[in-house]
């Protein structure tokens, strides 16, 4: 079932494999934690706070017989990798990034390691098109660094996975050991939608708890804005000049508003952040990329194209499908039709290849 269409090749920057149950992690967990799970009846990682309004959060046709969506490589091949002739798909394991909201830091770190080993063994080593994000838990940055040093040299691990929800803005020095390790290992920092209003975290918006999933989902962009501003203002990119950050599933048209406001404020408030050597906005093209899904779909496509032109989307955006979630984007239909062929090729493929240091064929992974 190959979908026809003029496509210049495809890198999918956000795909979610899933464990069937917590037991799938047992082979990769120290005996102590298996016993703990069995004894306590721990069955699930802290959940996002709202019942997911649409189809329980998944594409219903992506549920394999007797399993959960994202748990079957065969179905993922049929519905995504083969169907769209995907060259590379970057896997961000379902649930894993919400380990950041387990109160027990050691348990969280052990589960993160298990997720990473499971990802490598059950997915990355089974299909040459699959690349992965190593999840780390930030309750204890030292353990996160240790984990990155352990799995970050694997040739198919290209990214460090963090949730959009956080205990504190990601630019702060608390996290810098993680960035130092990521930069040394040539790993991108990937911040993924979710994790706001979870368990030990803060309310999902600065004004507290909205009532509905539709609000929570829409306002997720606020978390991404807070992190982008924090990364820049804290001087992360003056300290780690090679660090790259991908904002996954966090929208993009807000970028204009945020950097216009930030640049304006910089003229007045520069002395608070004297380490910045450029206008805040000037750090964006070198250090940030944004994934496309969920694609913004205003009534008039021309409005979207205008915003994309103003923000330099041709350089900054990378396609993501978010398979197998309910708000999946189909690469054939998701991008505005009025986009030039050149821009389409960059967004669907070339930007991601260069950002993640990949050669254009699955068998030719370059050194990171």
């Amino acid at each position: 079932m190959v979908k026809a269409g003029r496509r210049p090749g495809l890198v999918d920057c956000d795909v979610h494999p899933n464990i069937g149950s917590i037991k799938d992690l047992y082979p990769y967990l120290p005996r102590r934690w298996v016993d703990y799970i069995e004894e306590t009846g721990f069955s699930q990682i802290p959940q996002n706070p709202y019942p997911k309004g649409a189809n329980r959060g998944i594409r219903l046709d992506a549920v394999p017989a007797g399993g959960v969506a994202g748990s079957d490589l065969g179905l993922m091949r049929a519905q995504l990798l083969d169907a769209y002739q995907v060259e590379f798909a970057i896997l961000n394991p379902e649930h894993s990034y919400r380990l950041n909201f387990l109160p027990n830091a050691d348990f969280a770190a052990a589960l993160a390691s298990a997720f990473n080993d499971w990802l490598i063994v059950q997915w990355l080593e089974k299909d040459e098109r699959l690349l992965g994000s190593a999840v780390v838990t930030t309750q204890d940055p030292e353990q996160a660094v240790k984990e990155l040093k352990r799995v970050g040299t694997h040739p198919k691990i290209v990214q460090v996975l963090l949730p959009a929800g956080a205990q504190r803005p990601y630019g702060q020095r608390y996290y810098w050991p993680i960035y130092r390790a990521a930069e040394e290992l040539g790993l991108v920092i990937g911040i993924h939608f979710g994790g706001t209003g979870v368990s030990t975290g803060h309310p999902p918006t600065p004004v507290g708890w909205p009532s509905f999933y539709i609000e929570w989902h829409t306002l997720m962009t606020q978390a991404f804005q807070a992190h982008l501003v924090s990364f820049i203002c804290e001087g992360v990119f003056e300290q780690f000049k090679g660090l790259k950050v991908t904002l996954i599933e966090g929208g993009f048209s807000w970028l204009l508003h945020v950097i216009w406001r930030l640049d304006k404020n910089f003229r007045s408030l520069r002395s608070e952040v004297p380490w910045l050597k450029r206008f805040p906005s000037e750090y964006v093209p070198e250090h940030f990329r944004f994934t496309t899904q969920p694609m913004e779909e205003p009534e008039k496509e021309a409005d979207l194209l205008g915003v994309m032109r103003m923000m330099g989307a041709e350089q900054l955006l990378m396609f993501a499908s978010d398979y197998p979630h309910w708000d999946f984007d189909d690469p054939v239909y998701a991008l505005p039709r009025g986009l030039s062929e050149g821009a389409r090729a960059k967004i669907l493929r070339e930007n991601a290849l260069s950002w993640y240091g990949l050669n254009g064929q699955a068998s030719g992974l370059s050194g990171k």
Binding site: G235, E238, R267, S268, R270, S271, P274, W275
Partner: protein, 130 residues
């Protein structure tokens, strides 16, 4: 251009400023530790009365977390939005090549006076000595 009197040195001690009207322009003259500087009293941003702003130093850093303090007294911050300007050059700290206000030369000279000559009186007669 041209030379315009401001005030006597004793009237503008270090750390003080005087705002005056010259040829229809409002200009601030500052004494920064004995050095006199003059700058247009109009912020290029939104026209704020720049010379009413706070005078401070320049905070710079090589790396995040550093706070080095230079040029105390030479950085003028607009009282409206806080834009920073170097009083000596009129250049903004942010984007200095595109953002600047006019700075003027200030000199200290003896007050202007007419030439005088010694005068003497002898036998009800006044003599001038040249």
């Amino acid at each position: 251009m041209g030379k315009h009197p401001v005030c006597r040195v004793s009237e503008l001690p270090p750390g003080s400023r005087k705002i005056l009207e010259v040829s229809g322009r409002s200009i601030g003259v500052f004494n920064v530790g004995g050095r006199f500087c003059a700058i247009r009293n109009r912020c290029p941003h939104q026209g704020g009365p720049l010379c009413l702003g706070r005078v401070s130093g320049l905070v710079l850093a090589e790396v995040p977390g550093e706070h080095r303090y230079f040029d105390e007294g030479f950085i003028l911050r607009c009282p409206w939005h806080g834009w920073e300007f170097d009083i000596r050059t009129g250049q903004a700290v942010v984007d200095p090549h595109k953002t600047r206000v006019r700075a003027y030369k200030v000199s200290v000279e003896p007050p202007p006076r007419a030439e005088t000559y010694p005068v003497s009186v002898e036998d009800q007669m006044i003599y001038v000595h040249i």
